[in-house]
């Protein structure tokens, strides 16, 4: 049965409307991952040398024990942002004589096929074979291997569980991220707790009592089981998801009525974002990215590096454009036919998008003003990137929207609708980050940073001032592809 599911998923991949784009993204991803993996292999192989130079006063195995949990904490954090959820459109299988456990088991098991699960192996196992096996004997080495595998599985399913929950309710992600940042801060900044000591406590005892290795395994199994039952419960939820008793009231946004029919379209789209789970969590995620500055700005090493400020400023003021915009116009796929035959001018439709993005970016920019604490130039760069986003990023995003014919069904339950919530999405965002850096870096090299910044700002401003041209351009471009897009959107 599992091989049938795999075959179906492969077919879904190859026969999807966007195969070309997906494939390109995957290839780039694969290259990146291989490169990273290679780096990790090298680090893993020379782990003993690395540890010796970082902790010259401690014993080798002792310091090794100390870093394991720190690594896993960091891994959990990156998993939360990057790991993709395994997808299977379960609905067509539910009424067939296939056991629920098989379907759920498939979803839960395929989650193990993630590159993330390779990293701890290539990172820690060489050291275990080189040093632990040699110094502490076979049993201890085995205990280390088993417990590291156990924690990997635990981390894997914990991240997926949080991600699934966060997909339904974006706040969960914010809360978890806040907790993890607090844990990190209370160790490295406030020195209240020490993850190193906890890590040492466990792995140190592991050397004397190898049986302890069963603990992470049990935790991992428990987490798997939690995922399994959660998914199984939600197989039912899917059918019940439309049944909600809450009274849905009609809403108006009077300010938008000043913009005529463009304003009406924006009002509709705001309702789209707020009333559907997936775009809503895209919005909440955007709020999360507003914290990105806190990761980078306090770091004194990066403070002088303005390239980072460009990166962070672009992300913070433009994340909604990137996050929400890259699935344009798929959000509206289910009623695109209706839009096309109703008296909506496509130029107005595009102007609505600009208005929506301008509003979102302006709000984001205003929210980042407190970062002025890190210097006036931070604010200046944020403003420049705000202009850039509204003058350049928006146009790029809408240009690619014309090339996207993949249907997103908002009305279908969000609990099994996870496409585009992993690394692929982030990677596309990073591609959008490149142009301003490409402009800036040569100037920085010749020490004319200000000219570089001014140029970015000028391009952004030009883009904003020539908007009517872009509207016309995008409109003409859309009509060339209209039928392909419509067909793709009708393709359920």
């Amino acid at each position: 049965m599992i091989s049938t599911f795999l075959k179906h998923e492969l077919k879904a991949f190859w026969r999807s409307k966007n195969t070309g784009k997906n494939l390109a993204v995957r290839i780039v991803m694969a290259v990146l991952i291989l490169y990273l993996l290679l780096n990790v292999v090298v680090i893993g192989f020379f782990m003993d040398n690395v540890l010796k130079s970082v902790f010259p006063h401690d014993g080798l195995i002792l310091s090794f024990c100390g870093i394991i949990l720190i690594y896993f904490l960091g891994e959990l954090f990156s998993r939360l942002q990057l790991q993709e959820l395994p997808t299977l459109r379960v609905q067509p299988y539910l009424q067939l004589p296939i056991k629920r456990n098989t379907i759920v088991g498939y979803l839960a098991l395929t989650a193990l096929f993630s590159v993330f699960n390779l990293w701890p192996i290539v990172l820690f196992f060489p050291f275990i074979f080189k040093v632990v096996l040699h110094d502490a004997g076979l049993v201890t080495a085995l205990a280390f291997i088993v417990s590291i595998l156990g924690i990997t599985v635990l981390n894997n399913y914990l991240a997926l569980y949080i991600k699934r929950k966060a997909n339904l309710n974006g706040w969960i992600f914010l809360i978890v991220a806040a907790i993890m940042i607090l844990i990190g801060l209370s160790d490295f900044k406030w020195h209240i707790i020490s993850i190193r000591n906890i890590s040492y406590l466990f792995f140190g005892h592991l050397m004397s009592y190898p049986v302890l290795a069963l603990l992470p395994v049990l935790l991992g199994a428990g987490m798997y089981f939690l995922n399994f039952t959660y998914l199984k419960k939600n197989l039912y939820l899917e059918e019940l998801s439309t049944k909600k008793d809450k009274f849905k009231s009609s809403t108006e946004y009077p300010i938008l009525s000043y913009f005529g029919s463009t304003g009406d379209l924006v009002a509709n789209e705001i309702k789209l974002v707020l009333r559907n789970k997936r775009p809503r969590s895209a919005l909440v995620m955007s709020l999360f990215f507003l914290l990105y500055g806190l990761f980078f700005y306090p770091n004194p090493a990066l403070r002088s590096n303005e390239g980072f400020k460009i990166f962070v400023g672009m992300f913070m003021t433009g994340i909604f454009i990137i996050n929400y915009g890259q699935f344009m116009f798929s959000w509206q796929a289910s009623h695109f036919d209706g839009l096309m035959v109703s008296k909506v001018n496509f130029a107005d439709f595009l102007r609505g998008k600009y208005l929506l993005f301008t509003t979102a970016s302006t709000v984001a920019f205003l929210l980042t003003i407190p970062y002025v604490y890190f210097g006036w130039r931070v604010l200046l760069i944020h403003f420049i990137m705000y202009l850039w986003n509204l003058g350049f990023t928006v146009n790029v995003v809408l240009y690619f929207a014309n090339r996207n014919a993949k249907r997103i069904d908002l009305s279908k339950g969000a609990s099994f609708n996870w496409e585009g919530v992993g690394a692929t999405q982030l990677m596309l965002s990073f591609l959008l980050l490149l142009p301003p850096l490409i402009i800036y870096i040569p100037f920085k090299y010749f020490k004319y940073e200000d000219v570089g910044l001014a140029l970015i700002g000028a391009i952004g401003l030009t883009g904003i001032l020539t908007r009517s041209f872009w509207v016309k351009f995008l409109e003409a471009d859309f009509y060339k592809r209209k039928f392909t897009i419509l067909e793709g959107f009708r393709n359920k």
Partner: protein, 250 residues
């Protein structure tokens, strides 16, 4: 009102619509019948510029539909739920559509007051988004929003399919009324009784071609029933299997 010239649509080598010539005059009420895969929906979609024909064109008021938007001002259509914005409440949707046609909210409210019977108390002020309505009630929203636009041309694809018998009768009256006021109507249906009752002219489609174009009279229903009964009683031709309309075959 509408002229179809040499219109042709091919899906993977199979011709699904092939209409050399068709003219629908202003004020006519036209019914479109035919078995699944006959090409009705595809024809509708080409008339609304939602599908690009392989050849030929559709003119509306002597202007090609493709590449022009003027026809949107006087054409109202409802083909399927894909025409509704499903995360809006019905009221919000009606206000939106009304707003596109420069109607005030008061005007829309006025209009909706006249549809109290048609909605049967299940649409307005129920605190539901359109996506939470049943398919029949969604159809009602779609039809009412068409009428709200005061169209000169009304196009409905199988409007009788999901609605209850009472509403079917009311809908027939709505279409007849509209036609009496000069609205050109184009309605497809599998219900031969309804379609012969509502329409003055029946187009019968088979494998993308219009094989009969008849003015409705007392014998039309019998004639159509004879056609479809024969279609059922003899072995269907082998190609009928292949001739599935990809638009209908979701």
């Amino acid at each position: 009102m509408i002229q179809v010239k040499e219109l042709k649509k091919v899906y993977s080598g199979v011709i699904v619509v092939n209409i050399p010539q068709l003219e629908i005059r202003k004020g006519e009420s036209v019914g479109l019948v035919g078995n699944n895969g006959a090409g009705k929906t595809t024809l509708f979609r080409m008339m609304l510029d939602l599908i690009r024909p392989e050849a030929g064109e559709v003119l509306s008021n002597n202007e090609p539909v493709a590449g022009h938007e003027h026809w949107k001002n006087y054409t109202a259509s409802y083909l399927d739920e894909g025409f509704l914005i499903d995360y809006l409440t019905p009221e919000e949707y009606f206000y939106f559509i009304g707003g596109l046609h420069q109607q005030t909210r008061a005007h829309v409210d006025d209009f909706l007051a006249g549809y109290g019977d048609f909605f049967n108390g299940e649409i307005l002020k129920r605190g539901k988004y359109i996506r939470d309505l049943s398919k029949g009630n969604q159809t009602k929203v779609g039809i009412a929003s068409c009428m709200l636009q005061n169209p000169e041309l009304l196009m409905l694809d199988e409007p009788f399919a999901n609605i209850d018998p009472t509403t079917q009768f009311r809908l027939k009256n709505i279409i007849k009324d509209a036609n009496r006021k000069g609205v050109t109507t184009l309605v497809s249906s599998h219900d031969l009784n309804h379609v012969t009752d509502v329409c003055d002219r029946i187009l019968l489609m088979e494998k993308g071609k219009i094989i009969k174009d008849i003015a409705t009279n007392s014998s039309t229903l019998a004639e159509l029933e004879a056609y479809f009964a024969i279609g059922n009683s003899i072995e269907p031709p082998a190609s009928a299997e292949l001739n599935i309309d990809p638009e209908e075959n979701h």
